[in-house]
């Protein structure tokens, strides 16, 4: 079942004015029920605008927005079966934690006894039962975060929108809340739509991720999909680290292309879409999938010079120059386990693990 869907969605601020700004451009997206779905992109990419349109806080300029089959394009927030966890939590400062959580239920006209029962359940769910009578401004960021979650979950929304809810927390707490959020989503079975600019967060929590850049949808897929098979230069670069190489197609043979990369010989990569011979493309290779060997050893690839070596603890990062292109390689820590180690100035053979080269659109 589809939980939320946008079709042909555009959002223009100051439409018609001299400072018109198109925040979202012709957006199509479907989010499945019970999914932990993440909108990921750099700041200003339009991800928060999309979330605010789903919540009803922002009017769309063109297109439609449906939630569980119902067209909500013109409905105000209070008429949508959706609740939101705001970035700064937006807890009502003049109300206790209990009254904050009860607010949505009261507005829906839930009977008093049922409301209190449900609030108690929510407090237990987010481990905040001891804080029921506290005011929000007497609590830490993590505690407020939990209350905001409980408040948004109490009316049992069909869809929960989360607007960078972890960005105000420190690193340790953020990592802990990732696990809690994920568990909460499984426990409640509610569809979560999560907005973040933190790719690590997105990879760790999501069932599926939509990568957005400059108001356009770049790619939708599972975390593995997005990381292993980036479709565009932007996605390859934004998610994790990537070596991006300029290449020219020299031959196409079924599902495989032979490519010419300066400084490398015999580069082949599977292709997902038709490519023409002579076409210029970009190749993406993750740093951990580069193979380094002593020069002269037979590795399909090329010869590179080590220009820098950085010790990362669990790996060693090498900066290499090969045929005018700069490459980054992450090698398992050398030395103790008898693995090779190089120093700046060394000449090495560079190869690529099978299947590690992805053709991405430039």
């Amino acid at each position: 079942m589809i939980a939320a869907e946008v079709r042909g969605l555009s959002k223009v601020y100051n439409a018609g004015g001299s400072r018109a700004f198109e925040a979202l451009k012709n957006f199509d997206l479907s989010i499945n029920a019970n999914e932990f779905f993440t909108l990921l992109g750099p700041s200003g990419c339009g991800k928060t605008t999309l979330l605010r349109i789903l919540g009803g806080f922002e009017a769309l300029t063109e297109g439609t927005c449906t939630i569980f089959g119902q067209d909500v394009s013109r409905l105000p927030p209070e008429a949508r079966p959706v609740n939101t966890v705001f970035q700064q939590y937006a807890l009502f400062p003049h109300m206790s934690v209990r009254r904050n959580i009860a607010f949505g239920l009261e507005m829906l006209g839930t009977p008093r006894a049922e409301t209190e029962r449900r609030v108690d359940r929510m407090l237990a769910l987010v481990h905040m039962s001891d804080y029921a009578d506290r005011k929000p401004d007497t609590m830490s960021g993590g505690q407020r975060q939990r209350v905001a979650l409980a408040r948004a979950l109490a009316p049992q929304p069909k869809l929960l929108l989360l607007d960078e809810p972890l960005s105000a927390l420190d690193l340790k707490l953020r990592q802990k809340m990732r696990l809690e959020l994920k568990a909460l989503q499984r426990e409640t079975g509610i569809t979560f739509i999560f907005v973040t600019h933190d790719q690590e967060e997105a990879l760790a929590m999501s069932d599926r991720i939509a990568v957005i850049d400059k108001g356009r949808l770049q790619q939708v897929g599972t975390p593995e999909d997005i990381y292993e098979n980036p479709e565009s230069r932007f996605v390859a670069d934004f998610i994790g680290e990537s070596n991006l190489l300029d290449a020219r197609v020299s031959a196409v043979n079924g599902g495989e292309a032979a490519l010419i990369v300066e400084g490398f010989a015999d580069i082949r990569a599977p292709i997902g879409r038709p490519l023409a011979v002579g076409q210029l493309v970009s190749l993406s290779v993750r740093p951990e999938r580069l193979i380094l060997r002593e020069a002269g050893q037979d590795v399909p690839g090329g010869i590179a010079r080590v220009v820098a070596r950085t010790y990362l603890g669990n790996a060693v990062e090498y900066h290499l120059v090969a045929g005018g292109q700069t490459l980054t390689a992450h090698a398992p820590r050398g030395g103790l386990r008898g693995l090779l180690d190089f120093v700046p100035g060394d000449t090495v053979s560079v190869g690529f693990e099978p299947g590690s080269i992805k053709v991405v659109s430039s």
């Binding site: 919540g55 009803g56 806080f57 927030p77 609740n83 937006a90 009502f92 400062p93 003049h94 401004d137």
Partner: protein, 280 residues
């Protein structure tokens, strides 16, 4: 900034740096401040002291007495004038606060739709010389044909109190996180419910200080009131002015001291509300 702690030359440098541009470091600062304070407060202290004078003079001390307070409380004209002043101030403060609340709600967070112009229009009366407002009000009432008296005083007070009530409410509303009403709407509150349950309770400190400010401004207004009062109605400031024309007695000091006391209490209450409000 130097972070050196132990060596004394470094310490001296830090202290000297922090005092550059500090007006308190200039010679004669202390005595000038003292002179200013005396200039500001000596007349008031003098006035309050002579309200307890036993004699009829407001400049020659002849012993402590509360007789002028007794006279004030026994004077029916003063009581009527004081009651008028309080009634007018309460109604004017309440009405102008409600109007200012409406104005603030409509203008804050809406810069796109002429919020800046609205702000200028609403606060411009603060810069108009009061005598101009007074004459304009008088001419207006006469032109429209409202007979001068209690009603005209009240109407004029409501109008000139609006900007005073508006400023604290506006400040409070601007400090309000706009995601709070959004969160209320998200939790199924209609715009009216969101306003009543979230915005209004959080505005209470601003409303109270706006009301108190308007109340004090109305209570001690003289110029506008004098022009639009007409022959019948009188307020406490008008009455005090009338008494002065018959000659100074410590009775005037006593009324003034009572008004001073009332204003001080109101200002303190207003400040305390402001401080409580800032916590949210």
């Amino acid at each position: 900034m130097s972070n050196t702690a132990s060596s004394s030359p470094a310490m001296r440098t830090v202290t000297a740096t922090s005092r550059i541009g500090d007006i308190r470091a200039f010679a004669g600062f202390g005595s000038l401040s003292f002179a200013c304070l005396v200039f500001l407060y000596a007349p008031i202290v003098f006035l309050a002291a002579y309200s307890f004078n036993d004699g009829r003079s407001v400049s020659r001390w002849s012993g402590f007495s509360l007789r002028w307070y007794a006279t004030v409380f026994g004077n029916e004209n003063i009581q009527t004038a004081a009651l008028n002043s309080v009634i007018i101030a309460v109604i004017a403060a309440t009405a102008s606060t409600l109007l200012a609340l409406g104005a603030a709600t409509a203008t804050v967070h809406r810069r796109a739709s002429g919020g800046g112009a609205a702000y200028a229009v609403l606060t411009f009366p603060l810069m108009v010389p009061e005598i101009v407002t007074a004459v304009a009000s008088l001419v207006f009432f006469v032109a429209v044909g409202i007979s001068l008296g209690f009603t005209t005083i009240l109407l004029a007070h409501i109008v000139f109190c609006i900007p005073f009530a508006y400023l604290p409410i506006k400040a409070r509303l601007e400090g309000l996180d706009p995601s709070l009403p959004a969160a209320a709407a998200d939790l199924y509150a209609s715009p009216a419910k969101a306003f009543a349950r979230i915005t209004l309770p959080l505005l209470v400190p601003g409303l109270l200080s706006g009301w108190l400010l308007a109340f004090i401004i109305s209570l001690d207004d003289f110029i506008i009131t004098a022009l639009v009062a007409g022959p019948g109605a009188t307020t406490l400031p008008l009455h005090i002015y009338g008494m002065l024309r018959l000659g100074m007695t410590p009775e005037v000091n006593a009324i003034s001291t009572l008004m001073l006391g009332a204003s001080t209490v109101l200002v303190l209450v207003s400040a305390m509300i402001g401080r409580v409000g800032q916590k949210h």
